[in-house]
Symmetry: C2
Subunit: 436 residues, 2 copies
C-alpha cells in the first residue's frame, strides 16, 4: 500500500481493520434491515430517490473529481498501466454520464409487484405469482468507479439493498460517489443503509462477503477481470451472477451473403475487442469456403487483426498463423481471432457447444432452416441470427442498464437488468379452503 | 451393511466401489450427452416416452414388488422404524399411483420452447426469451422409492437428464423402478442415459454428486429428512433447490371469523403433521384473544395436539405447556404447536419474518387491508389468505407434480414443477445489424 495517504480517515481505510469481521457483519445486518424497508417502498418513492441521487451526483462533481484525482495520482505513483488509469479516471463527462445512467434506471418500469402469472384452482383459491426483490445483493468490482452508481441504482430500482465493495484503486472515487447516492436516498427518506460501501480497502472484506455475512447476502455479482471472477466463483458460498469467459463465435453459413458476413464479422470482432461480446472465433462453412473465407480473413488481417487458423484458413493468406487446440477455447479480448472451416451448421453447433462459453454466438445466413437449427441447438445465453455478437449488452436489449452478463444457467442468464435482480413469491387468496 | 445380500450383483452394489470416482464421472458425462439430445426432443416424443414409462412400470409391478419385499425384509432385519417401513413399502396401489403420476406429467403442457417474452428493438432486431431445459439435475433422496419415478418423469418432461441417487434402504426397489423407466425411454427411442440411477449404495457417491461431477450437474435437488438436506446445503458446490425447514404460521387476525379460523387451523396443523406445509405456530391477535384464543387452543388440545404457549395462551387452559424462545423457531413435524398472542398484523408479520423459514404462512381475516399487508410483507415463498398452509404442494398448485418445495430465493421458489426445472435463453433475429 502507498505511503502518500496521510489523513486519519484514509489511514483507517488502508490499515488492516482489526475488527473487520464485526464491521462486515454489522454491514450485513444493516443491509438486511434496509432491504426489508425498500422491498416495500412504492415505485414513486424509489423513482424520487433515484432522481435525487442523480442530482446529488451532479452537484458533487467537484468533490468526486477531486477524490478521483487523488486515486489517479496514487495509481500513477504505483506505475499502474494506461488501461487501468483509463478505467479509473473520471471527468465532467463521465460524471454526467453516471447521473444520466441513474435517470435511465429511474425511468424504467418498476419490476416489483408485477403479477407474472395468475390462475384459479377448482376449489376457488386464486393463486398469483408476483415479482418481489431478491433481498441483499453484494457487488464486488475493480477499478471502474462508475459501477458504484450503476449497481446502486439498479439494485434500488429492484427493491434490493446492496453492499458495494469497490476496487482499492478507486477507493476515494467510489466513496465520493457513494456519498452522493446516500444523499439522494436521504432526500427521499429512504434508509441510507440500502446502499452501503465497504469502508475499507482490506481485501479480507471480499472473503467475508463471499461467505455471505451470516446469510445476509443473497447473491454476489462480481464485476471485473478474470482473476476476480474466478476467485468469486471458486470461493462464494452464496449464488453468483457472473461469467468468466465470453468466447463468442461468428459462424458464416453456406447461405450467408458475403457482404453481410463481412459487416457483421468486422463489428463483432473489432468494434471493441475488450468487451465480453466480442467475437473470438470465426467458423466458415466448407461449402462457401472457396468464395467467403479469403475475403473475410483478408479483411481482418488488413484491419490489423491477427488470425490463427486451421490448415484451410492458413492456405488463404500467408499472414495467418497456425491455431492450436487451445485457440478454440481462448477469449483473447484483443485484436486476435481463431478461424476454422466447418462442415455445415451441425458441425458449427458441435464446435460451439464444445469449445464455447455459453455466452453469445451468431450465425450469418439467408437459410432460415439453418438459422433456426442454430438458434435452437447452440446452448448459449444469447444466440443471434444475422447481427453482431456485440449486442450482448443490457442497454442494447432495452433493459435500460445491466449489472453484468450471466452465463450460469440458473435464475439470471444473459444481461442482468432490474428484472433479473428480482425473484417471486406466490400469493393465495381463499375463502376458508382446507386441503382434503 | 447387512449380510443377507448374496447375489454377486448386490455384493457389487454393497461394497465400496474402488473406482467410484471413475464410475460417477462417467455417469456425469453420459448424462450431459443425453441432456443435449433430450433438450431438443419434440413434445410428442417426450410424451410418448412418458406414456411408455407408465406402461412399463405397470407391467413390471411383480418385479418391483419382489424387489421391494427384499428391501422391506432387510429393513425389518435391521429393526428399522415403522415410519421408515411405511415410506419404503410398496403395494399394487402404490405402483399404480406411480404410473398414474407419470401419466399426469405426460399430459402437462411442454414447457420447453415457450416464448416467455418477445420485443423488437428500434434497429429492427427481434429479441425473444424462450424456455430451455436446465441441463442435468441430480436428485438425492432417501427411503421413498416413488421419487425414482416422479423425479425421472418431471426431469424428462422439462428436457433434462437426471442422475438419481436413491436411499440405501430402497436400493432394490429403485433399481426395479428405474429399469421400467429405461424400458419406456427405449421404447420411444430416447437415450437411456437420460434417466440414470447411481448403481451403488456407497455413500461417497453423494459427495461426488455434490461436487458437481466435473460441471456435469447443473442443480441438485435433495428429497428427504433434515440431515440429508442440511448436508447437501452445506457441501454442494452446485446450486440446490431445497428447504431445510417448513416453520409455517397461521395468524388469526382481529378480523377473523372464528369458525373459519378453527377449520383452517385444524387442517393446517393436524391434517398431516409430517408434511412441510403443516403449521407449527399459531399467532392470535390480542384484539380477539379474549374470544378466539381459548376455542382455538382447546380445539387443538382436545384433538390430541400439544400446545406450547406464551403467558396469555397458558392462561386459557391448564394443559398448555410453557413455550421457550426456541419453540418459535421449531418445525415439530408432529402434533405439537407453539402459540402466541401478538399485537395485530404488524407484530404478526415481524414475528414470522424473524422466526419463520420463508416457506408458507397464512392469515385468517375478513379485513382486506390486513390481508393485503400480510400478503405483501411476509417474506415467504407462499403467503396465504383464508386457506390452509397445507396447500403448499405442486399438485395443489395445479403444477401436476413437483420435485420438491424450495425456500431459496433464486430461480425456484415454492413448489418445483416442470417450469422451475427449465431456464431460458435469448434468441435474436436480425437483418445485418451491427452495434454502433
Amino acid at each position: 500500500m502507498n505511503a502518500t495517504l496521510t489523513t486519519p480517515e484514509s489511514r483507517l481505510a488502508e490499515s488492516r481493520t482489526p475488527d473487520l469481521t464485526v464491521v462486515m457483519a454489522d454491514i450485513g445486518r444493516r443491509a438486511r434491515a434496509a432491504a426489508q424497508v425498500i422491498a416495500l417502498a412504492s415505485p414513486i418513492d424509489k423513482t424520487e430517490a433515484l432522481v435525487a441521487m442523480a442530482e446529488a451526483l451532479r452537484a458533487a462533481a467537484p468533490e468526486i473529481l477531486a477524490a478521483n484525482a487523488e486515486d489517479v495520482s496514487e495509481a500513477r505513483s504505483r506505475s499502474a498501466t494506461a488501461a487501468l488509469i483509463d478505467r479509473l479516471k473520471l471527468d465532467e463527462k463521465r460524471v454526467a454520464a453516471m447521473a444520466e445512467g441513474i435517470e435511465v434506471v429511474a425511468a424504467l418500469a418498476d419490476p416489483v409487484g408485477a403479477v407474472m402469472d395468475a390462475w384459479t384452482r377448482p376449489n376457488g383459491m386464486a393463486i398469483e405469482r408476483v415479482r418481489v426483490p431478491l433481498g441483499v445483493v453484494g457487488v464486488i468490482y475493480e477499478s471502474r468507479p462508475n459501477v458504484t452508481a450503476d449497481a446502486g441504482a439498479l439494485c434500488l430500482k429492484a427493491g434490493n439493498a446492496v453492499i458495494l465493495r469497490g476496487g482499492s484503486d478507486s477507493f476515494r472515487s467510489s466513496r465520493a460517489i457513494h456519498a452522493a447516492l446516500v444523499e439522494g436516498l436521504q432526500a427521499a427518506e429512504m434508509p441510507a443503509d440500502a446502499i452501503q460501501l465497504v469502508p475499507t480497502r482490506d481485501r479480507a472484506a471480499v472473503g467475508l462477503m463471499l461467505g455471505g455475512l451470516d446469510g445476509n447476502i443473497d447473491v454476489i455479482v462480481p464485476r471485473g477481470g478474470k482473476d476476480l471472477v474466478a476467485r468469486v466463483q471458486a470461493e462464494a458460498r452464496v449464488p453468483v451472477f457472473s461469467h468468466l469467459d465470453g468466447n463468442c463465435h461468428v459462424y458464416v453459413d453456406a447461405g450467408a451473403d458475403l457482404a453481410m458476413a463481412k459487416t457483421i464479422l468486422m463489428n463483432a470482432k473489432l468494434r471493441r475487442t475488450g468487451v465480453c461480446g466480442a467475437a473470438e472465433t470465426l467458423l466458415v462453412d466448407r461449402a462457401v469456403a472457396a468464395t467467403h473465407l479469403a475475403p473475410l480473413v483478408t479483411m481482418l488481417l488488413d484491419a490489423g487483426c491477427e488470425v490463427r487458423g486451421d490448415e484451410a484458413t492458413r492456405a488463404v493468406d500467408a499472414r495467418v498463423k497456425a491455431a492450436t487446440e487451445a485457440d478454440w477455447a481462448t477469449e483473447y479480448l484483443d485484436a486476435i481471432i481463431a478461424a476454422k472451416v466447418v462442415d455445415g451448421v451441425d458441425d458449427a453447433i458441435r464446435h460451439i457447444n464444445r469449445f464455447g462459453s455459453h455466452h453469445t454466438d451468431a450465425i450469418v445466413t439467408a437459410d432460415q432452416a439453418a438459422a433456426e437449427r442454430f438458434l435452437a441447438e447452440v446452448d448459449s445465453a444469447i444466440v443471434v441470427h444475422n447481427a453482431s455478437t456485440q449486442f450482448a449488452d443490457g442497454g442494447e436489449f432495452g433493459f435500460g442498464a445491466e449489472i453484468g452478463i450471466a452465463t450460469g444457467r440458473l435464475h439470471a442468464r444473459g444481461p442482468v437488468g432490474v428484472e433479473q435482480l428480482t425473484t417471486f413469491k406466490y400469493r393465495i387468496r381463499g375463502s376458508g379452503q382446507t386441503r382434503p
